[in-house]
C-alpha cells in the first residue's frame, strides 16, 4: 500500500479556528497519522513530500451540486441540449469541480433523469475525474410548480418530472431508485426563477404528496432534499424527515426554533449566490436589480440573509455552495460562496470553511459511517494543499493556481506544484 508523508504544512483540521504546523501520513486512501507541532512521523517506506509551508486542508464538499446544469439563463434552458452533448457537458463539469478543489459533491437535482447516475458510475469506476458523487433525481414537482415549464398548448421540456397525487410521486420515486439515484429531490416551494407562476413563499405540495415521496425514499434508505423556501415547506421537511433543506428563505422564528431542536438531523443550504448574483450581477443577461426586485429575487436575498444569520446563531448547520450552473453563477466559481457567507451572513472564515469541509463531509457520509471532511487519522485522504492561509484570505480558494495539490481517495488528481516562496513552518 502506498505511503505518502506530507511534511512542512500548516494544517486546517476541518473544525478548528487556527492552522497548526504539522505533517500528515497518507496510507492507501486514508489519512493514517497526523503529527502536531514539535512531533514527527516515522518516515520508513514513505514517499516524502515537503510542501514548503503550504496549508493542508480537507477537500471541499459541495452539498447542493448541479453538475448537469449548463450555465443557462432559465430553468428550462438548463436541459435544452441533446442527451449526448449533455453527458459530455456533465463530465466536463465534474472534472472542473475537482480541479477547483471539490473532492465530494451531492447531486441536488439532475437536469435529465440518468445524467448524475452515469457520471457517478464513471467517476466511481475511475474512468473519468470528478468528485465523489451522490446522484440526484430530477426535480420532482407538481403541475405549475418550479420547473414545470409547459403551457396549455405547448409542451416545454424542463429539469423536472411532474407528478400530481401521492401515487404518482410514489411511482416516480421508485422508478428513480430503480435507475440508481442516491437522493430524491422535490420542489415544495415556488421561486423567483419561475416568476410569475409561483412565488418562493408559496407551497404547492400537499402533506400527503410530501409524505408519499419521503416514506417511499426513506423505506429504501435513500436520501432526501427539498427546494423549500416557504415556511410551510421547511415545516414539511422537519415533519417528514427531509435531511437537506434547500433555501429555507421564509422560515419564521418559530420554525427556526423548532429546527434548532432537531439540528442534528438536517442541513440547510441557502444557495445564496442564486440570490446575490442574480440581484446584483446578472444585468448583462437582462436581470437588473430592478428586475430582480420585481420577480422577488431581491426579497429572497434579503429574507435569506436575515434567516441565515439567525440559523447561524442557533447553531443550525448552514452549508455553502449550491445552485451554481446558471450563467451568472457558473460552474467553477463555487468557492465565491465562502465570501458570500462572510459578507452576507457574518461568518468567520474558519466557520464557513468548517461548513465546507467537516460538515460537508459528515453530510455526504450520512448514515454510512464513512469518515470524510477532516484531517484526522482514519479519514478518507481527500486533501488540498493551498498556497497561503485561507483563514486570512478565503479568495485563495477561488483561484485554481492557489491549489498546489488536489488529492482524492489517496491519489493525486493534481500533483504538488511547488510554492512560489518556500517557507519553513513546522515547529523546530
Amino acid at each position: 500500500m502506498s505511503r505518502i508523508l506530507i511534511s512542512n504544512v500548516m494544517i486546517f483540521e476541518g473544525t478548528e479556528k487556527d492552522l497548526r504546523p504539522g505533517e500528515v501520513l497518507v496510507q492507501g486512501n486514508r489519512i493514517q497519522a497526523v503529527a502536531g507541532p514539535g512531533e514527527s512521523l516515522p518516515r520508513e517506506g514513505a514517499e516524502i513530500l515537503d510542501a514548503g509551508g503550504a496549508t493542508l486542508m480537507p477537500g471541499m464538499v459541495n452539498t447542493h451540486c448541479h453538475l448537469t446544469y449548463n450555465n443557462g439563463t432559465t430553468v428550462a434552458e438548463l436541459t435544452a441540449l441533446p442527451v449526448e452533448e449533455h453527458v459530455l457537458l456533465t463530465m466536463h463539469n465534474a472534472r472542473l469541480a475537482l480541479d477547483m478543489g471539490f473532492t465530494a459533491a451531492i447531486g441536488a437535482a439532475s437536469a435529465k433523469p440518468r445524467l448524475d447516475i452515469v457520471i457517478r458510475n464513471e467517476i466511481n469506476a475511475g474512468k473519468i475525474p470528478g468528485p465523489r458523487l451522490l446522484a440526484g433525481s430530477p426535480e420532482l414537482t407538481v403541475t405549475g410548480g418550479l420547473a414545470d415549464d409547459n403551457k396549455y398548448d405547448q409542451k416545454h421540456p424542463s429539469i423536472s418530472i411532474i407528478c400530481d397525487t401521492p401515487d404518482e410521486f410514489r411511482k416516480v420515486v421508485r422508478t428513480m431508485i430503480r435507475e440508481g439515484v442516491d437522493l430524491i429531490k422535490f420542489n415544495n416551494s415556488g421561486d423567483s426563477f419561475c416568476f410569475p407562476r409561483m412565488a418562493a413563499y408559496d407551497n404547492p405540495m400537499t402533506d400527503a404528496e410530501v409524505a408519499a415521496i419521503c416514506d417511499t425514499a426513506n423505506n429504501i434508505g435513500k436520501r432526501l432534499a427539498a427546494h423549500a423556501h416557504a415556511d410551510s415547506s421547511v415545516r414539511q421537511c422537519m415533519k417528514y424527515g427531509v435531511e437537506f433543506i434547500f433555501h429555507a428563505t421564509f422560515a419564521t422564528d418559530e420554525t427556526i426554533e423548532q429546527l434548532e431542536k432537531v439540528k442534528d438531523r438536517h442541513y440547510v443550504s441557502p444557495a445564496i449566490a442564486a440570490r446575490y448574483n442574480t440581484t446584483y450581477e446578472a444585468k448583462d443577461w437582462g436581470i437588473t436589480t430592478d428586475v430582480a426586485e420585481i420577480i422577488g429575487n431581491k426579497r429572497e436575498l434579503e429574507e435569506g440573509i436575515k434567516v441565515m444569520r439567525k440559523m447561524r446563531a442557533a447553531g443550525i448547520k448552514v452549508l455553502p455552495f449550491g445552485d451554481y450552473g446558471f450563467a451568472w453563477l457558473p460552474h467553477g466559481t463555487e468557492a465565491r460562496d465562502l465570501e458570500h457567507f462572510v459578507n452576507l451572513f457574518g461568518y468567520e472564515p474558519w466557520e464557513v470553511l468548517r461548513a465546507a469541509t467537516a460538515w460537508g463531509g459528515e453530510a455526504w457520509a450520512g448514515k454510512s459511517g464513512e469518515k470524510m471532511g477532516r484531517v484526522q487519522p482514519g479519514y478518507l485522504a481527500d486533501i488540498l494543499l493551498v498556497d497561503g492561509n485561507p483563514l486570512y484570505d478565503l479568495s485563495l480558494l477561488q483561484d485554481r493556481h492557489s491549489l498546489l495539490a488536489i488529492m482524492k481517495d489517496g491519489l493525486f488528481h493534481k500533483p504538488f506544484q511547488g510554492r512560489a516562496t518556500d517557507m519553513r513552518v513546522a515547529a523546530e
Binding site: 450555465n71 446578472a282 468567520e348 492561509n389 486570512y392
Partner: protein
C-alpha cells in the same frame, strides 16, 4: 501599498479563443502578473473562472469583505497598469467607495457596477483581533 484584484481568465465565454491561444482574459491577467512580478506581488492577482460579465469581456473586480464591490467590463490587456493602480486605492480606502474621479480616466467608462456592501454586516474580527483579509504582501501565515 498592497491590494488584490480578481481577473476572469475564461473571457470570452461566448467566443472561444483559437486552440492553443491564450484567451483575452488570460492576456489581461498575464499583463498584470508581469507588472507585479508574479501573482503574489504587492497587488495579489486572483485569476478566476468567471466574474459574471461574460457578455462584455474582459472582466475584473475589486472585492473585500465589508466594502463596495467594483466591477469592470470591456477590458483589454492595455488596462493592466490602470487596474493595478486602482486596486491599491481600493485596498487603502475604508469602504471601497473610491470616487470615480480618482479612477484613471480611460477606466471610468469600463466600471460596470459599484455595489454597496449589504448593510449591517461588519466584517468579522477573529479572536486574535485580526480583521479577515488583510492581504499580506508576502505569502505566509499568521504571526
Amino acid at each position: 501599498m498592497a491590494g488584490k484584484i480578481f481577473v476572469c481568465t475564461t473571457c470570452n465565454r461566448y467566443a472561444h479563443a483559437p486552440p492553443g491561444e491564450p484567451t483575452p482574459g488570460q492576456k489581461l491577467a498575464e499583463a498584470m502578473i508581469a507588472i507585479e512580478g508574479g501573482r503574489r506581488g504587492p497587488v495579489a492577482i486572483r485569476t478566476v473562472v468567471c466574474l459574471n460579465n461574460c457578455p462584455k469581456p474582459c472582466a475584473a473586480a475589486l472585492r473585500q469583505p465589508g466594502k463596495y464591490v467594483i466591477r469592470f467590463s470591456g477590458l483589454s490587456a492595455g488596462d493592466a497598469p490602470a487596474l493595478l493602480e486602482i486596486a491599491e486605492r481600493y485596498a487603502a480606502s475604508m469602504d471601497g467607495d473610491v470616487p470615480l474621479r480618482d479612477f484613471p480616466e480611460h477606466l471610468r467608462c469600463k466600471v460596470s457596477d459599484r455595489i454597496p456592501p449589504v448593510r449591517g454586516v461588519v466584517p468579522p474580527v477573529s479572536e486574535h483581533g485580526l480583521v479577515h483579509d488583510p492581504v499580506p504582501a508576502l505569502p505566509g501565515f499568521a504571526p
